[in-house]
């Protein structure tokens, strides 16, 4: 079992290579074929021809497309994402600065989604064909149709402006110095390790609105999925057997049935990670959250080719890793799964 699982992980890791390669190739070509380039966005439209040519020479943009492509791939093979074409910085550095913010946001968003989705879904299945069930199903559909950025704006309006109880922008308040605790960039973890509980409180406070925005919008899918799975499980023989043995109704639904319904939900979590990343990009812009989404948007206007390509690669890898992680956990939780 252990050996085959290890083999499975290696195969899955190898399978992500063509995926990243294909995405990268598409983005690479599209970036260079479409109008605009980093030199003109940097120097403005009125720079003399000679200066533009010289700059292009420096950045290697005057070489033919296939040559540039091969060079870039060669660089990637050495795990080097190159240097930004607009700013004097390594692409890996820019991404390393922003990635933790996005990971922290998506992590807490996912937790909220799971809690709300699974609980509401299980409750709806238990109360099948009652007003509560219809209400929760309607919630699932409606919430799915709310654009995540609008949800963010409305929560900002209600809790940030009208009630004035929660911060609406950034990761920390003005009086907190992140340099005091910053190590991993995951501020919740950092403040915990530094035992700086005042800062931890501030960090958590700033997380509330963005994480709930992301969490609520995605919870609709999980409501439906949990409900459907629970209905299947509740029909099965071992639930009937548990009832016959006189186990309390609540214990049957929320302990026995939910445990079994949870496995397919776990698989779904891996698949939903792409949606979560997309939602994170929009949440970041709404909440001025300094993450990958804002980095991408900023650099896309500047046509900073290496940084854009780097962000695409890292996002693809994060999504692939998340789905792999979920599959591995799945294999550990469910003893029936063999690879």
């Amino acid at each position: 079992m252990k050996k085959s699982l290890a083999r499975y992980i290696i195969i899955r890791l190898l399978l992500t290579v063509p995926m990243v390669f294909i995405l990268l190739s598409i983005v690479f070509v599209v970036l260079r074929v479409m109008p605009g380039d980093p030199v003109s966005s940097m120097l403005g439209g009125h720079a003399p021809e000679k200066v533009i040519e010289q700059k292009k020479q420096e950045l290697g943009l005057n070489r033919s497309l296939p040559v540039q492509y091969v060079q870039y791939l060669w660089q990637i093979c050495h795990l080097d994402l190159g240097e930004s074409m607009v700013f004097k910085e390594k692409v890996t550095k820019a991404i390393a600065d922003k990635l933790p913010a996005t990971i922290e946001l998506t992590f807490f968003g996912m937790i909220i989604t799971l809690f709300m989705g699974v609980f509401l879904g299980a409750y709806a299945a238990d109360k099948r064909r009652t007003a509560q069930d219809y209400g929760i199903r309607l919630y699932g559909i409606v919430v799915y149709c709310i654009p995540v950025y609008w949800m963010g704006l409305m929560l900002q309006l209600i809790f940030g402006i009208w009630l004035n109880v929660l911060p609406v922008a950034g990761r920390v308040g003005a009086r907190i110095f992140t340099s005091d605790f910053e190590k991993t960039g995951l501020y919740v973890l950092d403040t915990l390790m530094a035992r700086d509980f005042a800062s931890l409180g501030d960090v958590l406070l700033h997380l509330v609105l963005p994480a709930f925005t992301l969490g609520i919008v995605l919870s609709g899918i999980f409501v439906r999925l949990t409900r459907a799975n629970m209905l299947d499980v509740l029909k099965s023989d071992y639930i009937l057997a548990a009832e016959a043995r006189g186990i309390g109704h609540r214990a049957i639904v929320y302990k026995h049935a939910l445990k079994n319904a949870f496995i397919p939900i776990l698989t779904m979590m891996g698949l939903q990670f792409a949606l979560l990343m997309a939602g994170a990009v929009l949440t970041e812009t709404t909440f001025s959250w300094p993450g990958m989404g804002r980095l991408l948007l900023e650099r896309i206007y500047l046509r900073d080719y290496p940084t854009i390509q780097g962000v695409i690669i890292v996002v693809a890898l994060v999504v692939a890793m998340a789905s792999l992680l979920v599959d591995v956990v799945y294999a550990m939780v469910d003893p029936r799964v063999r690879y």
Binding site: I22, V142, P147, M154, V281
Partner: protein, 283 residues
Amino acid sequence: MISGFTGLGKKYGLEWWILVVGALIILAIVYMAAFPGTLAPFSPYDQETGPQLAPPSAVHLMGTDNLQRDVWSRIVFGSQTILRVAVLAALVSSIFGITLGLISGFSGGWFDRVLSLVMDSLYSFPGLILAIAFAAMLGPGVVNIMLAVSVIYIPTYFRLVRGQTLSIKEELYVEAAQAIGASRFTILWQYIFPNVIATTAVVFTLNVADAIMTEAALTYLGLGLPPSIVDWGMDLAMGKKFLPSGMWWLITFPGAMISLLALGFTMLGEGLAEILNPRLLER
């Protein structure tokens, strides 16, 4: 007619009513887009229609913005942009996705393998991020944003149609058609395509709902359209600037309309899916 209508409601229960409500929402907004003059008291571009940044009142149902334009009138005219972009984008991606899926599934071989790999890669990547990249590269414009949105949904249709084509081409009637000497094109077009198209109807409806939210996301980010076009997402982005001063009407109404339109198509799609094929959504 009436008894048939409620009869269907009895037969399918909640699903039927979900479908009906969804269809009504869509019809109302389509009417808005088709006959804006009957609903909007002002032109969406008209400045100085009243006081600046005024809250909703009898004259301005949804208030006014910073350029003294009537928000309700902009909502009415803005429905044209989002409907056009979302429906056209879904059409373009379904045409490409279905065609490629049919050919790929039917012909098999290395072509099928390579195309499947490309489509799977696109499918697993966050679609919105890809759309952002395409929209930014293409520059502002209605056709450009439509293309950026349509690219990311091609894999959805491709995967669905390819899978079905693979199973249908093994059917006896396809074999029979081959035996009597039907050309490959005839088999694809007359024997496989009609059997594939039914399931794509549901996916198309849900796809429009998704495209609505993607279109609005792109214009909200300032990527999609020139400022001369009236659009809900752009109005939302503009209203965001006045959020700190509590001007709630500037963000509440455009956002609610985006949700409502997406909700209409989602409800129609869900209802259709349940009625046509109850197991489709569980997969």
